[in-house]
């Protein structure tokens, strides 16, 4: 059994990483995720692990390149403007097939935007913001415990698929405090990182290795004849990731006539609204994607076949709603309640249970 403690979501990132055997953290401060690097700066060195505050986010993401290439479990965290600075590195990490974990604690954008909570980086996270068409599994926790658990899963999936994995948090999840049971989760065995660059003397076969993306030299993982055959391999890998790693939660969805779709902190707001609505007899439920990529398109399509209508709730101008529309294919109503759907002029744009409930009633 693990240790029970009361911690903030940002701190749960640290406990999750520790329980995943994270070897090193590299990052640069930005609100609202500063508790994450602060935690690692305090806890990693005394355990013989590495914490480095880099000169910039561009530096941090490239330090992941180096650490992951050497076979270590490494990670970084940032918020939205810093995420923009990491896009070139994300594309390089994907190209070099380097397993690592990036925690993105979303804040309001675009640009410097606001340090408030938001869900405005969904599209660039799920659509290869750095360019070149790579894919990365994106995990969206909705509680402190789940942050802890999904960080561990993220390291596992990164190693399993040799690919960067993003954990998409937000400014509210990062700062709320909840009880956490911190223990290591066993996701099963992983292949040895025999591709890692460890220095010739520590390499089992005594051969030097180089890690880089095609086509600067020999392929990192074995023989691709040319760029297109490498892309074939990449495309196949992305398809395997899409096919095998889908995760989602449903809540009162079995008989729901109206299905809310929400992730992260907003999903919890929706649950509260659903509880009240159910007490009022309204047939409403929730689909909460845990993986944003891959996205539960088929789950939604099955609900369309059952006659469901949909309400997407997001702390943005509308991003995940695009994926719901792709799934629904125009065969059911898709409503949207977003950052601008204010209940009161003074509520600052936060998605509150009362406002969701009001919308549920209006649509039921």
């Amino acid at each position: 059994m693990g240790e029970r403690m009361l911690v903030q979501g940002n701190e749960a990132v640290g406990w999750g990483a520790l329980n995943a055997g994270c070897d090193g953290f590299f990052g640069y401060p930005i609100t609202p995720q500063n508790e994450i690097p602060e935690w690692f700066s305090r806890e990693l060195p005394k355990r013989g692990k590495v914490f480095v505050q880099s000169q910039s986010e561009t530096g941090a993401i490239m330090m992941l390149y180096g650490g992951a290439a050497a076979g270590f479990r490494v990670m970084t965290s940032t918020s939205s403007p810093g995420w923009g600075l990491m896009q070139e590195g994300m594309s390089h990490l994907a190209a070099a097939e380097l397993p690592c974990v990036i925690v993105l604690v979303q804040r309001g954008g675009p640009g410097q935007g606001s340090v408030r909570h938001a869900q405005m980086d969904y599209l660039c996270v799920t659509r290869s913001g750095g360019g070149g068409g790579y894919k990365n599994i994106s995990l969206a926790p909705a509680s402190v415990q789940e942050i802890h658990d999904l960080i561990q899963l993220a390291f596992y999936l990164a190693d399993k698929h040799c690919n960067p994995v993003v954990v998409l948090s937000d400014g509210i999840l990062g700062l709320i405090a909840e009880t956490l049971e911190a223990k290591t989760i066993d996701f099963g065995p992983l292949p040895e990182k025999d591709w890692a660059v460890r220095g010739r003397d520590r390499q089992r076969d005594g051969k030097r290795r180089f890690i880089h993306s095609y086509p600067s030299g020999a392929p990192p993982r074995g023989g691709y004849a040319n760029y297109v055959s490498w892309l074939e391999h990449m495309g196949k890998k992305y398809q395997e990731m899409a096919d095998s790693e889908l995760r989602y939660e449903t809540y009162h969805s079995e008989d729901a006539a109206l299905l809310l779709v929400a992730y992260g902190y907003v999903a919890r707001v929706c649950k509260e609204a659903i509880n009240t609505a159910r007490a009022e007899g309204l047939k409403v439920g929730l689909l909460r994607p845990i993986t944003l990529w891959p996205f539960p398109y088929q789950v939604i399509r099955d609900k369309v076949d059952l006659g469901c209508r949909f309400l997407v709730v997001e702390d943005s101008l509308g991003q995940m709603v695009e994926d719901v529309r792709i799934a629904v294919q125009g065969r059911a109503e898709v409503h949207f309640l977003g950052l601008l759907s204010r209940h009161l002029p003074t509520d600052g744009g936060m998605i509150l249970p009362g406002r969701v409930l009001e919308e549920i009633r209006r649509l039921s």
Copy 2:
């Protein structure tokens, strides 16, 4: 009448910018777009305009911030890895509502990828790769002449909407040479840039101005009470851009039973295949989006209603095909011919007319 000359696509960027009254170019070298900064370095200074080779792509994009804030028509160009480095800046430019033009000559990705032609940055260009949910009009030329003309349109639309505009070229369009008639296009009047920072003495009203995104101070364009009201303004502006700036070309589409959807150099390959197919009596046509954002969803839906089937051809693993599927909503077949749909093992992944024709025949 304009000057007629034989130029490469990358050079046509320069002539278009010059005819648009471009005041300054800031960039960093990367294949396959080096002819663009080379052109500007040679042609701008002797006309009393500014060329700067910045220290990096992060520097170049922020120089656009400065130049645009001062009211000048400024631009940069890059290729895919450099585009990754510009993502933070893109989000800042959008947030500060600064008009400027970014030319992206796509090469193969992800990461360093290949210096070959490709169309693998479609998703991040149309889905706010830098995060925060901004939108930017994306123009996709398919000839040297159109590069020249769309560069001018890009400057016009940037000024009209106070927003960065992306011109999405590729490694083939950039290097082919065609006849160009270079002349200035009049798109109509534009409002004065009374918001520009010109130094207090040159400001008409003698007041200092500051350009920045909400919420670091007073709003750049006038009174937003708070972050949410600023986002309301931004959301409304993005909607106006989506509603008013759609551009596309159709080719033999009136009676087409099979409609190809392609952009950029691939659209020209498709036209050649269509010519042959039409000669064979096959009812096939082309929809070529000129704006990738906004995307011609409704145009496609109208074709769905007429019973069309679709073949998306892209030099990628499949990116624009997502938008076609969004449009089609599952009500018609959507086929995909991409980078891996090789005719011969040795063709290097280029989309050739013969391969497209073969697919047309198979689907007809």
Copy 3:
């Protein structure tokens, strides 16, 4: 005849550069020299010349490398902490034998120090702060007019010797306003820059050229067999610079029993004190080095032979006094009045005429 105007010392840098035919300025802001980049940003572009605010001082100094290598007259300016950042570049410029001008407006150090006036960079300017034993002529103006004139001389000497030249100003000279007669000074003919990199097509002999320091390839200026023979050439050039470019001013020095040695703004303070002292019948004079490197060692030695005693006055803890001691060789008294030699606890360390006069009286 030139134009007469009332300008600050920092502005006189600009007029001097303009009259020297300066083609480009590259710099980064820092107090107390911000008027210099401001001037260039306003005046250069409208004359078809180049102004770039670089990302940093390390960027600015390397832009000089590029501009000078292409055969242009280029310059930068900075203050003390920025000068620290330029040291690697200074050493590279010297090694590549690239003519350019660096204006250093000294402020109080070390580190961030104070934005006040000071003369605390003498040693690193005259002792190759960037390492490797290069030499650079260092010119120390003492008036607005002389700033203007020495900037022109700096460009001439840089071209004559193919070497960077430093103009050492300070926070007082930079900010005082005096009448300036701005006109071009003719220092005589200079050899053509046939070594410059101009692009193969614009090179007279149609050959490509490369500019770099030994030993990365072919020598920039012609055949050095190896590193040592290149150093022989460099050592000989430094000796020629030392032998031919000494400049200094004397004031009431003919019959002086006490010779003040001072440069920059402090030399003017000393002149005022000398005027009063002479009125009191005291035999006191001034030696003002205009070149700090080469330094007027022999001029001082000749005064030693005549029985002179010396008072060095510097706005520092004592730097140039080292050179005076080298010259005097222990054969005469060398007194020092520096930044800590305060007259009143409240005078902030400025060297004032009253304090110098007091010291003159004490020593006479």
Copy 4:
């Protein structure tokens, strides 16, 4: 008794640092000192200490700022071009009075110069290359054992005086292998670092501390009324360092009529020449400064009084010879044998015993 082993000079840096209780190393690769960061990257992490390869030399030197401010024993190493990049940081470290150690393995300059051995950074090391008139003790080892011992002394002196200390090695000392007896040397007690920034909770008095140079806020070490009073403190500290830390070695100097002055590897070459010369009956000896700053001026002056003549031998165009001339004050002959004083056209400029002996014979 310590451990005996055969190691290179660059490795001896590591063992010395380890025996001094070094907590962290931050650096960037450059020939001929790459064995130093390689050693630390291998040895520090497994001992729970910190190694970071920074993005650049400017980053490395500022990481020393952070580590030293937190009270840790931290160091970096570099070679000549990297030393140029560290000059701004050196000045900041001195201003903030932060104890740390910088190892400079000299190579040929200026600029990129040559990766060969050289002694061409003497002047900028001893004359505050970063500007602002700070002083740093500079230690010059001449053997692998002494490298090890002086690294330890460097940490001690840095802590004792709250000042950066430079250890000046060269490309020959760094690469030769000799027997090393590695043990910790006890230099005596040091005051507690009660000024260090440790986080409020770990601070004994529970107060926050800030480390910075005057005048950005409260002084780091206690009450300076203003900039001048802070400089008074700094000037006094530099004088104390100069007065108390002089170190040098003499060899056959008692009855020497000709005294060689040399440091580093060249001093060993001189000893060999002296041995031969003594066997020939020539009265020749050696003064080897171990501290280059402070410099043994008085030791030389005492020899002048005894009628000595001097021969300075340096692997440069002449740098330390300036200090010898300052000491001698024109009262004795000072000869110079430098990098260009070649015996054979083919010897590459290395100072060899035969060439020194020849000069000794010529001067005896």
